[in-house]
């Protein structure tokens, strides 16, 4: 299947398609039309047809999409057919929330290690995973073939830790620290800036109330 040249806009909509198709699949639904998808996703049917046309012809006029096939294909495009080895750096509440979130493991994101430099929680187990001191991180990353690091540490240390992780061979960083990370080419960073999101809500509340 040809997936080159898909725009970033389409790519960023794929997880949402994947989510809805997964729900339809769980409900035992085998086929769905673009109009039905349009109704539940609140996106126009023509947008859906355009987006899904990027992945070739698994929609047939008057017949709809094969839910399971489309779900699997989009999953494959998203790289969910591969297993990823993750570590979490920062075992605070947010780190613990992420480790305990079952959905990630189901999608192939396997937490292998947790690191924190707080001696009080060192040796603790979270979701069956030992919290290790930061000094062990380099060896752990190299030996276990860790490809993704999740940063749930304060912004003050995030930049330095990210640099270290890249030098250890990490390929992707899922960043929750409230700072933008500038990494070498070939390294992927996806940031979740919670404050930015809350400020957008705040803006919409003020402008909506004018």
């Amino acid at each position: 299947m040809e997936v080159k040249g898909i725009s970033q806009a389409v790519i960023s909509r794929l997880p949402r398609y994947f989510r809805y198709l997964g729900e339809l699949k769980d409900e035992g639904i085998e086929r769905v039309s673009s109009q039905e998808l349009s109704d539940i996703m609140q996106v126009t049917a023509s947008q859906i047809r355009q987006d899904l046309n990027n992945f070739g012809g698994f929609g047939q006029q008057g017949y709809g999409y094969n839910v399971e096939y489309l779900y699997e294909e989009i999953g494959r495009i998203l790289g969910l057919d591969q297993e990823h080895n993750l570590i979490i750096v920062g075992a605070g509440h947010l780190g613990q929330a992420l480790v305990n979130y079952r959905d990630f493991e189901r999608r192939g994101f396997i937490f292998r290690g947790i690191f924190d430099n707080n001696p009080q929680i060192r040796g603790m187990q979270i979701h069956g995973i030992l919290v290790r001191p930061m000094e062990e991180m380099e060896q752990f990353v190299r030996e276990k073939g860790i490809d993704i690091a999740v940063l749930t540490i304060p912004k003050e240390s995030a930049v330095e830790v990210a640099e270290q992780l890249v030098s250890y061979g990490i390929k992707g960083i899922w960043n929750f620290a409230h700072v933008d990370l500038h990494v070498p080419q070939g390294i992927q960073v996806e940031s979740v800036h919670l404050s930015d999101s809350l400020m957008k809500l705040s803006y919409n509340l003020s402008s909506g109330s004018i």
Copy 2:
């Protein structure tokens, strides 16, 4: 100051300007040129000038922007000069992480109550705030003038709880449940779909490695 007609694209970049200007302010820097901002934010200087021109003339050719003034103005546009009363529904790790995050309070987002229907944590205090049973939510929201609810509950209950909250008078929902919420007009929803974000990282890792 005229702020009508600003595009959503500009709006969505404002929290990031606000963050960088706040850092410059904390460092005691009084003026910054669009070129300097461009260097630290890794956005083109012309993009910065265009964006900030929306807010009138506080940049002067060859003189730069007044950091504190611009910071305050953007904060005002984002509604950060108003205080918001928040409740969290769902006192798991994610809910606890958000309650404990000091930055939100500093920006005027004040957590007033925490609700959870797990009897084991009922009566617990998190960051000095009592965890209350869900049955007390309606009265609490109405009496305390709560305007924002943060949903850190599983998707199975999120849709119903969101409907209840809207009927109690909530104006904004910050949604962490892995489901899209469809709310009446006039109600603002901002969703943080963590799985979607991780899938985007996964996509970029696979496509980057081809």
